[in-house]
Structure formats: structure tokens, C-alpha cells
Point group: C2
Chain length 313, copies 2
């Protein structure tokens, strides 16, 4: 067990409320007066989640977007955010605030409050963001997938991973790819539309394969993904091709912030009518009896890659 | 203007929701379905808010207690907390979790969720806590004090400040004093009882005088405090005496986590009947026309000390 998972396991004795969802979901879901509040908190650390020379406005955007992606995965409409901010150099901080304003304006959100602290000189900085949202109805967990349900994902997979390689100078490709890495778009409208239909839903943050394996584990079921169905953008195919190696690279890269969900058979037709939105969903697999993740391509089994995605240490 | 206040000022352009209360209140107050949610977020940093050799269980307690104190000051009942945790050494982390469990059990609360991150080796660690509460009715701000209202504080002032000096070996005194520093008790019951009565309310975290000056500023009124009325505990008097110097030291020390509030004249009798609780309120001053803080003792003016309390850098 990784250090992080061992620590989270030790926290389960403290997280005894049903609202905590056993700490396996993307958010806490708290009932207040018959309404469902979705609460997400993410922390990012310099040198771990961002680099000192990343643009402050991009860091602000990402901090907001990754929290909103957690809300999107539960069909929650965001109401506002609280910021925990560690002060740095004044010009950097001003650029961060401008980026935060841009991000919040883009999502129609306001900053509600938070805290500002100093840190010892030379310390790697850390920021936290809490997002509060309200779900329109029952909130899908990761645990509701049943054998016979189909597995779907919104949008395209792997763009942000290729974008990071382009940003590092390791690859050449369309500007859309690094933009998807720097400025992820949480799938809020898709989440609202899908939440009443999905039997399980989560966002793809660490890689399609590892997140699908987590959904399978939470649902105590097996999932089979057909690699030939994994949706790749034209920009990604242009930069990396679309053979099995390119598809596996896309399916194990992180930072997609697409929605991964399962559907009972009678709801597939309804979801196909949603395809008009900017990030149409694609059927990529099937839930079966058993446990774990398997891959196929054109009906033939494909071995799992050594790494399914980003593993927290 | 300090760096922190300059930064918070720049955030006001982003905090345009009425729920943000212009970032001058202890919490955000969000209306959901006719109910009032109070949202607080505090961040603590190693070397700034705690020291590496402080007991992990005390740090966990304080992180919970200071957030709940913000809710108490708004008459909100806590519903749960989210934790942002930076991993450290495994035994330290386990002691923190045990302390967190103890603190949350003590307040009848559950951990709802949060995030766990790693940090570069040797980095000062930072933790964040978001507390979510629900207020029974309208939530007092810092801005409602009017000329003719009286100023009150719960419990006793200066115990934690003396306790810190005892913990540092600079003073001798009763064990109650360092306990009040290490294990502050948020005044949740008093806050619930006082919120419908108070015209303004906040918690005392940086020192009675500086926090009273902030209340005066937010209310656009003057406040006069009678030093001879500032409530001191027997333990504090035993350790430090009760002359003017000792009273000023108590009134400018931080970490009290008592409630400071103002009352219209017709509500004083009701508040006196609340005195049976563990932290009875004491009338310590008066709100007048004008601005700023003045001190008196036995009817005579007393000059303000050079420092009114803890100033954020």
C-alpha cells in the first residue's frame, strides 16, 4: 500500500459519517434540509503538482478546474470556493489573483472566503481550494456499476498527457494539446445531464485505465475496455498516431478531467441524444461479473500495461 | 498595509458574492434553500503556526478548534470538516490522526473528506481545514455595532498567552494556562445562544484589543474598553498579577478563542441569564460615535499600548 493510501486508510476511523462516503468518492455529500451539498477539497504543492516557473494564472486555473471536475463527476452545480493561500513574491501573487479571477469568472463563480498564510523563506508553497456545490438529485458514487452495464467516457482521452510532453519539448503537436494540460475544462454541463442516468460516475484525473480499475474495485465488479473504442482527438492522432502503443499511452496519461461513467442498458439511447454537447460521450467498455480491469482490441484480449496511470506515492 | 492585508484587498475584486461578506468576516455565509451555511477555512504552516516539536495531537486539536471558533462566532452548529494534509513521517502522521479523532469525537463531528499530498523532502508542512456549519437564524457580522450598544466578551482573557510563556519556560503557573494554549475550546454553545441577541460578534484570536479595534472599524464606530472590567482567571492572576501591565498583556495576547460581541441595551438582561454556562459573558465596554479604540480604567483615560495584538505580516 502506498503511503498516501495507508494514511487515507487510517483516516477511515475518523470519517464515520455517511457523508464521507468511506473516503473513496471524489467528494463528500452532505444532506442539508433535503438538499445535497457536494464538497471537494484539493491541495497543490510546488515541486509536486506545479513547478516554480509555471504561469501563476495556469496554476490558479488548474486549482479551480480540478475541484470543479470533482463536482461535475457528481452532477453538482458549483456555488463557490474557499481559497487557502500561502503568500509568495508580490508580482507572482498578483498574477495568481488575476488568473483566479479569470477562472472564477469563466465558471460564473465567486470566491467566498478562505485563509492567507506566510511560510518560512524558501519553502515550497502549497495552496488549497474547497469547492461547494449543490446536486440536483441523488448523487452517483463510484460504487454503483453492475454486470451488464456499459462503460462510457466524455470527450477525448490523452490530450493533456501529450500536451505535457509538448510543453516539456519532448513532442511536437497542435496548440490544443498543451492547452488541455494547462487549462482543463471541468465537464459541468455533462455531469449535470449524466448524473440522473449514470449508475456510477467519477472524473478521469490519474489516467483512464487506473481510474476505470478504481471504479471496478469500488463497484466490486470487473470492467473490460475495448481499446479501439477509446476516443482520441485529431490533434492527438496527428502528434502521436493511433496504434496500440499510442492508445495505451493516452489511456494511462493523467489530467484528462473527462467523466467516466456506467449506464444500465435502458439508458444508452438517452445518453446518445446528449452527444450534441461539446464533449460527446463514447461507449468504451462493459461491466462484467468478477473483479479487475481487462483490455481488448477487435475482440482479442490485450495484456495490461505495466502502469495503468499516475500512482500516488 | 501588511503583505497579507494587501493580498486580501486584491482578492476583494474576486469575492463579489454577498456570501463572501467582503472578506472581513470570520466565515462565508451561503444561503442554500433558505438555510444559512457558515464556511470557514484555516491553513497552518510548520515554523509559523506550529513548531516541529509540538505534539501532533495538539496541532490537530488546534486546527479543528480554531475553525470551529469561527463558526461559534456566527452562531453556527458545525456539520463536518474537510482536511488538506501534507504527509510527513509515518509515526507523526499516525499521532496526528489519533489527535484528530480525539478532537472530532470531542465536538461530535465527522471528517467528511479532503485531500492528501506529498511535499518535497525537508519542506515545512502545511495543513488546511474547512469547517461547514449551519446557523439557526440570521448570522451576526462584525459590522452591526451601533453607538449606545455595550461590548462583551465570554470567559477569561489572556490565559493562552500566559500558557505559551509557561510552555516556553518564561513563566510559572497553573497547568490550566498552557492547556488553554494547546487545547482551545471553541465557544459553540455560547455562540448559538448569543447569535440571535448580538448586534455584532467575532472570535478573539489575535488579542482582545486588536480584535475589538477590527470590530469598531467594520462597524464604523468607536469602542471604549474599561480595562478594570476585562475578565482575568484566578490562574492568570496567580501567575501574572492583575495590575494594569498584567491586564494589558492579557488583552494583547492571542489565542483566546473567546467571543467578543455587542448588544443593544434591551438585550443585556437576557444575556446576564446566560451566565450559568461555562464561559459567562462580561460587559467590558461601550460603543460610541466616532472611530477607533480607546481604553479607560476607573473612569480615567489610559493610553493604547504600542501593539494591540498579533499583527499578520
Amino acid at each position: 500500500m502506498s503511503r498516501e493510501f495507508a494514511f487515507i486508510d487510517s483516516l477511515r476511523s475518523v470519517a464515520t459519517s455517511p457523508a464521507a462516503r468511506d473516503l473513496i468518492d471524489d467528494v463528500a455529500v452532505l444532506e442539508v434540509a433535503g438538499r445535497w451539498l457536494a464538497l471537494s477539497h484539493d491541495m497543490i504543492v510546488e515541486g509536486v503538482h506545479f513547478l516554480p516557473d509555471d504561469a501563476p494564472a495556469d496554476i490558479a486555473w488548474k486549482l479551480v478546474a480540478v475541484n470543479l471536475s470533482d463536482l461535475a463527476a457528481k452532477g453538482a452545480r458549483p456555488l463557490g470556493v474557499l481559497l487557502g493561500y500561502m503568500l509568495g513574491e508580490a508580482a507572482w501573487d498578483a498574477a495568481f489573483v488575476a488568473g483566479l479571477k479569470n477562472a472564477l469568472d469563466n465558471f460564473g463563480l465567486a470566491l467566498l472566503g478562505g485563509d492567507t498564510v506566510s511560510a518560512p523563506a524558501g519553502n515550497a508553497r502549497a495552496f488549497g481550494l474547497t469547492a461547494i456545490g449543490e446536486a440536483a438529485g441523488p448523487v452517483p458514487s463510484r460504487a454503483g456499476a453492475k454486470p451488464g452495464h456499459s462503460l462510457w467516457v466524455t470527450g477525448t482521452i490523452g490530450d493533456a498527457g501529450a500536451g505535457l510532453r509538448i510543453a516539456r519539448g519532448e513532442l511536437e503537436g497542435a496548440e490544443m494539446l498543451p492547452r488541455r494540460y494547462r487549462r482543463p475544462e471541468p465537464r459541468l454541463d455533462a455531469g449535470l445531464a449524466l448524473a440522473p442516468l449514470a449508475s456510477a460516475m467519477m472524473d478521469v484525473s490519474d489516467g483512464l485505465l487506473i481510474d476505470a480499475a478504481r471504479l471496478a474495485s469500488a463497484s466490486e465488479a470487473a470492467i473490460e475496455i475495448d481499446l479501439s473504442c477509446v476516443p482520441l482527438s485529431r490533434a492527438l492522432i496527428g502528434a502521436c498516431g493511433e496504434d496500440r502503443g499510442a492508445t495505451l499511452a493516452a489511456a494511462t496519461a493523467g489530467d484528462d478531467y473527462e467523466l467516466l461513467f456506467t449506464l444500465p442498458p435502458d439508458r444508452e439511447a438517452t445518453v446518445r441524444t446528449l452527444s450534441a454537447a461539446g464533449c460527446p460521450p463514447t461507449r468504451i467498455g462493459t461491466v462484467r461479473e468478477g473483479d479487475g480491469l481487462t483490455l481488448s482490441e477487435g475482440g482479442k484480449a490485450v495484456p495490461l500495461p505495466a502502469s495503468l496511470g499516475y500512482q500516488h506515492d
